[in-house]
């Protein structure tokens, strides 16, 4: 069977899996961004906590995603939940790192200036620190997006959604008819999705970053 024919004959199935994949990654990214930024907001003022967070982030990224998702089956069972947990976990790490760098990089004079104007702590965070750190945070989100596109493929192992199903099916019947095509379809699909999402994030970055701090 040829690749073209494989894709044509299963186009609706592939499209559905691709949308599921994208949806899993996008939603996990949003959740991961919120969690990572909140964590960074809590720790970025303390040198020690910053160190701890960076160490956790570095070590966390070395955990094999395949092992972690397997371990998640015990508490969360099969399906979407363990997939989301793992994808969010991996997505949060680079964002956390960048968010800390971004927030710590805000000029202390500006914070003092904001306090001097009578802005509240929360006001300073939302209206000064976050917008100024946003480009750095967003570049963390883009790194995360690339990385967890691949991680999300592993979700199929726990019967989660996405393009990983084609890869696992193909690998399990390697040598059989259409096995290679299945693996290639899954893999190329993931790569294409990653490119599309990156462009999307680039656009979001343009729209959400103030002209005053764009490079």
């Amino acid at each position: 069977m040829e690749l073209g024919e494989f894709v044509r004959s299963r186009s609706s199935e592939i499209l559905f899996a691709a949308l599921q994949h994208l949806s899993l990654v996008a939603q996990s990214l949003i959740l991961a961004t919120v969690i990572a930024v909140l964590l960074a907001a809590l720790v970025h003022r303390s040198q020690t906590l910053r160190g701890v967070a960076n160490a956790v982030s570095a070590i966390g990224l070395t955990i094999p995603s395949f092992a972690l998702i397997g371990l998640m089956v015990a508490p969360f069972g099969f399906g979407v939940t363990p997939a989301v947990v793992v994808v969010v976990f991996f997505a949060a790490l680079p964002i956390l790192r960048n968010a800390i760098v971004g927030l710590a990089g805000v000029d202390p004079a500006l914070i003092e200036s904001a306090r001097g104007l009578g802005m509240s702590r929360l006001g300073i965070f939302l209206r000064v620190e976050l917008p100024l750190a946003w480009p750095v945070i967003l570049s963390g989100v883009r790194i995360s997006a690339q990385m967890v596109m691949g991680v999300a493929a592993v979700a199929a192992y726990v019967l989660g959604p996405g393009l990983g199903g084609f890869i696992f099916q193909g690998l399990s019947r390697l040598g059989g008819s259409g096995a290679i095509e299945s693996v290639v379809t899954g893999t190329v699909g993931v790569i294409l999705l990653a490119l599309i999402l990156d462009l999307l994030l680039l656009g979001i970055g343009r729209l959400t970053t103030s002209k005053g701090i764009r490079g």
């Binding site: 500006l110 003092e112 200036s113 001097g116 009578g118 100024l132 103030s210 005053g212």
Partner: protein, 454 residues
């Protein structure tokens, strides 16, 4: 009383009265001085304020009692690390005092909400501290927005403030800080601090980050703005010349925020309290006094004036008759264009109609320092003075300036100012004894005054 703001809130109403009980003569004096200028400022009292940092033996600020009169510019000067910035930041409680009280316009603000207090006090830091991700208009609108002004009012206020600081609203409103020069950023910083019309403006080394020429222009600008807004301003600087130029009063600090002298620039220059102040002033105190006086304050001498293109021999005759060495040639609008000597005149038939660029010339608003500089550059020993629209007013020579300076020094030495209170309760000896004697209410009484009612 001239110093009551029409917008005074109920909480403040008892203030002037209760303060007067402590220092009646001083208040009467203030009222006299200020009948011709409506002040929108509020007085500030630092009452026995101390700041100790944990792990440090000596307090950064030790028992400072300081009166900042309303509508006046008070400069805090001293070497770096002397606690002047800490003192400033305790006024709006960016740094919380360990001990002592802060009284703003008669209201004890030591324990009210700090953010709420800071919205009532303008604050400007070095280089303006503008938020780079907001436009000029957004930066200025920050405090009004926090105070929930409506949109139209904010927009109108932004316009008004940009005009006030000399930036065209249509050009600069939607620019980002990175698109402005350092001086323009500083102007927007001042506009932002003035946005909600706070009675008090605090500035921490406001002009420290700009080049000398821009700094001079910004200083002039600030003087002009203060003439319009009459705020109470407290400005920290390490530049004594800046303090002399901007300040109505100067506080000289040494380590631990010890107040060495609190007086007018004229008096500090004429009579430094001790060697420390003398060293701090640096050399040329007399020259610095030249910067305090304007050309219009000294008497300009008359001169023989002739129209451009007129008969030179006739002008020469008039100069000889008046005993003058020079003739001022003016154009049809009375603006000087040349200043030939009798010798030069004797070689002419017609008076020159061409502008002589080498002619020494200053505006009547220039300082005596500028005038002297002009004289030295042109080596004429005198300079022409022009008034409004560049019309010729008179001639000022070196002798006039010398006389002005020596009379100013005498006047400064004799003047018995009732200087505002500034002491360190821990070390009263550091304060010139004179200010205690001259002031009927001693600092202790006066400091307790504002709160005696509550």
């Amino acid at each position: 009383m001239a110093d009551i703001d029409p917008r005074t809130e109920t909480a403040d109403e008892q203030a002037p009265g209760s303060q007067t009980t402590g220092s009646q003569p001083a208040d009467a004096q203030t009222a006299d001085e200020q009948t011709d200028r409506e002040t929108t400022g509020r007085s500030i009292w630092l009452d026995n304020v101390t700041k100790r940092y944990p792990g440090q033996k000596r307090p950064a600020v030790n028992g400072v009692t300081l009166e900042i009169p309303d509508g006046q510019v008070v400069m805090l000067v001293g070497p770096s690390g002397c606690g002047k910035t800490t003192t400033l930041k305790m006024i709006n409680r960016l740094i919380e005092p360990t001990e002592g009280r802060i009284v703003l316009g008669g209201e004890d603000v030591t324990s009210i909400d700090g953010d709420e207090l800071r919205r009532r006090i303008g604050y400007v830091i070095q280089a303006g501290g503008l938020f780079p991700h907001m436009t000029v208009a957004q930066n200025i609108a920050l405090v009004p927005k926090m105070l929930r002004w409506d949109k139209a009012r904010i927009a109108a206020r932004v316009e008004e403030l940009l005009d006030l600081v000399g930036l065209d609203p249509d050009v600069y409103r939607s620019r980002y800080p990175k698109e402005l020069s350092g001086g323009q950023q500083q102007r927007v910083g001042v506009a932002r601090a003035l946005a909600a019309d706070p009675p008090v403006l605090l500035m921490d080394e406001p002009f420290g980050a700009v080049d000398p020429i821009t700094r001079q222009r910004l200083q002039d600008e600030l003087i002009r703005i203060q003439h319009e807004v009459h705020k109470t301003m407290v400005i920290v600087t390490h530049d004594f010349d800046e303090a002399v130029k901007l300040g109505d009063w100067i506080v000289v600090f040494r380590e631990g925020a010890q107040i060495v002298q609190y007086d007018t620039p004229e008096r500090i220059l004429a009579e430094p309290a001790d060697e420390f102040v003398e060293n701090f002033i640096g050399s040329g105190a007399a020259l610095k006094q030249l910067g305090l006086r304007r050309v219009r304050e000294v008497e300009a001498a008359d001169a023989v004036v002739a129209k451009a293109g007129a008969n030179a021999a006739e002008a020469l005759r008039r100069a000889e008759a008046a005993g003058h060495d020079h003739v001022v040639v003016v154009d049809e609008r009375g603006r000087p264009i040349a200043w030939p000597s009798r010798r030069a005149l004797s070689r002419m038939t017609r008076l020159p109609a061409q502008l002589d660029p080498a002619m020494p010339l200053v505006g009547s608003g220039a300082t005596l320092n500028d005038a002297l500089d002009t004289m030295l550059v042109s080596s004429a020993g005198a300079t022409l003075v022009t008034g409004r629209s560049g019309v010729f007013e008179g001639v000022v020579d070196v002798e006039t300036i010398m006389d002005a300076i020596s009379s100013a020094r005498e006047a400064a030495a004799e003047r018995s100012d009732d200087a505002p209170v500034g002491t360190n309760t821990g070390a009263v000896a550091a304060v010139p004894a004179a200010s205690d004697e001259q002031r009927p209410a001693n600092p202790g009484d006066a400091a307790v005054g504002p709160v005696s009612d509550d």
